[in-house]
Amino acid sequence: MDEDVNLVRLVRTGHKPAFKQLVERYEDYVFTITFKVLKSREEAEEAAQDAFLKAYQNLEGFEEKSRFSTWLYTIAYRAAIDMARKKRLPANSIDDDASFLQLEDEVFATPVEQMQDEDLQAQLAVAIDKLKPDDAAMITLFYLQEMSVKEIAEIMNLTITNVKTRLHRLREALREILSRQLKQEIQDLL
C-alpha cells in the first residue's frame, strides 16, 4: 500500500510523529509551490505552514482516491493564492493577453547583456519568478513535482484542456524569453 496513506492512517489514530514524517517528506515541494506563487520566503513559509496545519486538521477529508501529494498540493496552492489575493498580487494567468504582454515586457526589461552572462538555469529561474502566481505554480507542479495534467487540473480547479493550453503557451513564452540563450546552447548539439 502507498506509504503516505499508511502514515495518514497512523496520524488519524493519534500518532503525531507520523505527520512529522509527512511534513519532512513534502516540505520542500510545498514550500516551492507557495514560494513560486508568493515570491517572498517569509510569506511562502507562512503559507506552507498554514497548508500543513490545514491538511492536518482536515485529514479525515482525505478520501484516499487521489495521491496524498495531490491533495496536499491543492491545499498548499489554495493557501498561497489566498495569501496572494490578500497581498493583491495579480493572480490572473498568461491566458489573459494583457498580462502575457506585461510578462514579456517585464522580462525583457532586464538588460540582455546581464542576462547573457548568467547560465540558462539562472535565467530560467528569473523568468519563472516573473510569471503570474498561478502560471509559476503550474510550471512548478508540472516539472518539479512531475504531476500529470489531470492532477494539475484537479489542484488548480481547471479543465484538462485548459491546463494543456496554458502549459503550451507558458512554455512557448519561456522559450521566446530565453531564445537567445537557447540558440547558443543548442548550436553545439546540431
Partner: protein, 165 residues
Amino acid sequence: MNHQDDILLWKYIDGDCTPDESDAVQKKLAEDAKFRKAYAERLKLHGELRNMEAEQPSMRFSMRIFESLPDLYGRFTIQPLIRPLWARAFLATLALLVIGFSTYAVLQVDPSAASSSGALSETVHDLTQASERIPYSLMTLLAALSAGFLILVWLDRRLRKRIVG
C-alpha cells in the same frame, strides 16, 4: 514554424503523441533542418525545466509545524491483554473461594469446645484440621494461578502505559 508544429513538438516531447503523430514528427525531424532546430530548442528548455531544484524552507520549519499541531485525533488504542470483565470475574471467583473456605473452616469448629477452657487452642486446632482436608496440590494451584494472573495484569497495564504514554 506554424502554431500546429509548436503544439505537435510539445506533445512529442511530453510523450503524448499518437503513433501517427510520432511518425510524422520523426519524418519531419529527419528532413527539415528548421524543424530540427525548433525541436532542439524546446527539448533543451524542457530539460532545463526538469532540472529545476526545489526551494528549501528554514531549518526549523518542520519542527515548528510539529510543535503547533493540536491534539485532534484519538490516542493509540491498544486492547488490554485481559478484558476488564474477565479480570473482575477472576477476582470475584478468588474472593468467593476464600470466603467459602473461611466459612467451611468456621463451621468445623466444635461450639461446645469453644465455650470451655482452652477454647482458643481448640478453635485453632479445628481450623488447622479443616484446612488440612483441602488437598495441598489444589491450594498450590490456586495460589500459583492467582499470582500469575495478577502479575500479567500488572505487566499489561504497565506496558500499555509506556507505549501509549
